[in-house]
């Protein structure tokens, strides 16, 4: 399989503090990759570099579907192909749920309002909240908002979906409904890169699990390799800490 996302020598520093050290990573089309690791290990920064929400070292290269991710006219094109779901949802609070999902296809793809609405209602049905379409985000629970955010990202028919700790700001009883949607999505062949603390989800859904620490990829492999026979002390220590609490 050809790499859909290719990351070479990715470096990123905030002032004198280096967040990412020379990361190399390829993501194949249709692959579901979960990134795990302690807070501050650089995993969120890594996926935020892919659509350049974070600027990175000019010598590093990231390509998505063969297009280089760099400042300039092509950037909006890359971003249109890369969906993102945020920890804090970031829905547009002044628009209905339906308008939230319709906006980008209309503005970026030039889809007509009628076509965008059909598509949006279809997606809202898929994530199980069609009946909330006319409500505003503030009237929804966290889990519902995050499902709208997933529908909003899907509306652009992206080549890849990035999830930045999508369940970390949810009440525990709402984590399940969001993970269910993501699990279904993974089954449809969408390429997904998921930063998460949900080890059960990573083990069950991921094709590949990446363990990051200190701005480096310490270990990568199948869920069985990472969770059952981790090679690195640091991975073992992390997994012991998160799995036995």
């Amino acid at each position: 399989m050809a790499a859909l996302i290719s990351i070479r020598g990715l470096k990123k520093a905030f002032g004198s503090f280096t967040v990412l050290h020379d990361i190399d990573l390829d993501i194949a089309e249709g692959e579901v990759v979960c990134v795990i690791g302690p807070s501050g290990s650089g995993k969120s920064t890594l996926i935020r570099c892919i659509n350049r929400l974070e600027a990175f070292d000019p010598e590093s290269t990231i390509t998505v579907g063969g297009i280089k991710v760099e400042q300039g006219a092509a950037l909006a094109k890359v971003r249109a192909e890369v969906g993102m779901v945020f920890q804090s949802f970031n829905l547009f609070p002044h628009m209905t749920v339906l308008r939230n999902v319709m906006l980008a296809p209309m503005r970026v793809r030039g889809t007509t309002a009628a076509a965008a609405e059909i598509k949006a209602r279809d997606l809202l049905a898929r994530v199980g909240i069609l009946e909330q379409a006319e409500k505003f985000p503030g009237q929804l629970s966290g889990g519902q908002q995050q499902r709208v955010a997933i529908a909003r990202a899907l509306a652009m028919e992206p080549k890849v979906l990035l999830f930045d700790e999508p369940t970390s700001s949810l009440d525990p009883e709402m984590v399940g409904e969001v993970l269910d949607v993501m699990r279904k999505l993974a089954g449809t062949g969408v390429t997904m890169l998921v930063v998460t603390h949900e080890m059960g989800f990573a083990r069950q859904v991921a094709d590949r699990v990446i363990f990051m620490d200190g701005g480096r990829i310490l270990e990568a492999g199948t869920p069985a390799q990472i969770f059952d026979s981790p090679q690195e002390d640091r991975t073992r220590g992390f997994l012991r800490a998160v799995l036995n609490h």
């Binding site: 909006a76 094109k77 971003r79 249109a80 970031n90 906006l103 980008a104 503005r107």
Partner: protein
């Protein structure tokens, strides 16, 4: 009573009323033109300051700081009496509108900037991640939210512009204040001045109470 005849002379007031109302029309013309120009200029400055190259951002900041520092009366006199020396001769109306708009734009730019900066970063990031252009991010996502935040301070600024139109009387603009002083001179009685003051109050009091209401409405977190 002597006091009433001096300050609230009904006969003098009725005689001067048509003149005062003409003055009011001129005041509103200056005020509304300046408000519209100031709003457009301020919005442009605020957005330019957000996206322009660093060098222009510094220039824009200098503009905003200068025009917020200079007394409006001084600026007005420079525009009307000093610019003709370099060949720029503006009518009293244009002088007043220019001075008021330049200053109003500076204040408006600061108000819009504060409003835009109050929108969480996540809104910009979500827009960027969807591939929205800067223009659509502003028009569809940021400004509709920022407008609600900036309406009370913007209304306040409009009140200030309307009040400051009175300064136009120093460049011989026949605005409300100028008409009142002329009527006072003509009738040798200060009642027209009191009449003008009352007209200003009748015009602006509703706006002042609206601002107070809006501020209460928006501070409830009802957004």
């Amino acid at each position: 009573m002597n006091l009433i005849n001096t300050f609230f002379n009904v006969g003098v007031l009725l005689d001067s009323l048509p003149q005062l109302l003409w003055g009011l029309v001129v005041t509103l013309q200056i005020g509304l033109t300046s408000i519209v120009c100031g709003l457009a200029g301020g919005l442009f400055l605020a957005i330019a300051r957000l996206y322009a190259p660093a060098f222009f951002q510094i220039l824009l900041r200098i503009y905003v700081d200068i025009f917020r520092s200079i007394p409006l009366l001084v600026l007005l006199i420079i525009v009307y009496y000093a610019l003709p020396f370099v060949g720029i001769r503006l009518s009293p109306f244009l002088s007043a509108v220019t001075a008021l708009s330049l200053v109003s734009a500076a204040y408006t730019a600061e108000i819009f900037r504060a409003g835009i900066e109050a929108i969480p970063r996540g809104q910009f990031e979500a827009s960027a991640a969807l591939g929205l252009s800067n223009r659509h991010t502003m028009i569809d996502v940021i400004l509709p939210q920022a407008i609600r935040i900036v309406i009370p301070p913007l209304t306040n600024n409009c009140i200030n512009v309307l009040k400051d139109t009175a300064l136009a009387s120093v460049v011989a603009m026949p605005d409300l204040l100028k008409q009142a002083t002329q009527a006072q001179a003509l009738s040798a009685n200060p009642t027209p001045l009191i009449g003008a003051a009352i007209i200003y109050i009748i015009l602006l009091w509703p706006m002042v109470t609206v601002v107070a209401k809006l501020e209460r409405h928006f501070s409830r977190g009802d957004r």
